[in-house]
Symmetry: C2
Subunit: 228 residues, 2 copies
Amino acid sequence: MTTNLQNSSSEAIYRTLKSEILDLVIKPGQSLGENELCARFNVSRTPVRSVLARLRDGGLVNIIPYKGTFVTLLNYDDITQLIYMRVAVESMVLRDFVSIATPIIIEKLRYIIRKQKVLLETEFELQRFYDLDSQLHEVWFHTTKKDKLWKAIQRAQVNYSRFRMLDIMAAQSFPEIIQEHEAMFDMIERKDIPALQKAIEHHLYGGVRRLDGRIDAEFADYFQKGDL
Amino acid sequence: MTTNLQNSSSEAIYRTLKSEILDLVIKPGQSLGENELCARFNVSRTPVRSVLARLRDGGLVNIIPYKGTFVTLLNYDDITQLIYMRVAVESMVLRDFVSIATPIIIEKLRYIIRKQKVLLETEFELQRFYDLDSQLHEVWFHTTKKDKLWKAIQRAQVNYSRFRMLDIMAAQSFPEIIQEHEAMFDMIERKDIPALQKAIEHHLYGGVRRLDGRIDAEFADYFQKGDL
DNA sequence: CAGTGGTCTAGACCACCGA
DNA sequence: CGGTGGTCTAGACCACTGG
């Protein structure tokens, strides 16, 4: 009856490391030696290497032959280009969204925004806030039948996620983010597409705006120099 | 002096299979058993499995536990969503491109289009044609400093590539493609952004337009049913 | 039950880096 | 030269599928 699933230790190790990296528990630049991980998780090199390979392919880890394996540094250039893509795509998705959104779907948006507000007023959980944020964006992708595109984007922007986490965590950006969500909600109700497109651009570039000055100062260690 | 590089057989196996799949030499749906590959390339399961895992992550292969490994079928829904993304992104990139393109860069475009024409008039190589096509698009991403975005998109659209290959191969689409390129070239010279954005949309949806009726007929085996 | 993939161990040997 | 990753073999055992 029970359908086995996930007994592998690899999977557990992968998930552990991935979330530690995404949540910035393991800092960008930090070393992740194979032997060290073998010891920590009590397995041989095979599973450890397979995990590291997956993390590498996901852009979370940088394996330098004969030197070591390190959590990738954030790259400002990468991040801005991904934001550019999201602006392009979400402008178009939102345009399509307002023309087909039903009242029920609009209520769903309102509900998510409210949950975010409540979260902020009571206890605050970083990860939960981040998830609600994603859910909101997901609504318009889902409604316009662009689910797979949303997933493809998620896959492509792993590093933007870490940046966003840093933004939310370090820049106290929740109030501003919620405000922007509410503003966009109004525009959706009014079906004001031009305003909406400006707003989504402003919203997506929010992290850059907020952290800009601090990247060279406090968070310099987290970012690649030069940005070639 | 010589810097070793790529002695691994995995890498060779990976590249072989990948190009065979992308060039439709190995057909969508075809089986790729581990033992069969072990025999073909004369290696043990470890390298074979690592190759298959990479192909899976790239979306080229579908590993069904305890049943077998198969080249993924094309998915019409995936493809149209990726095209949607490209339309969104390239509309924006082209808008930025025309405002900063120098005469030298415009010449580069003309040069690529000419090469494509020459190729068509002399011998015809599918892969070469495809590459020139990519190069053209790459110019505007590169010029607008969106190289990384271009790479990210390439990674995300492996399956669209196979579709495009099918289009070029089966639909005799080269003349039309070249014509569209030339039309777009004119619009770039005239800096006619609205026309350009219509044109890129038309261009990117070209394959869908040309193959539409034939997907349920001749190429049904290559596509997923239902398209859920 | 035979076949196929899923997962892992143990160990070998190689290639490169840096002290 | 020691440490780290790169690559692979050989083989074991498990778990599910399908005839």
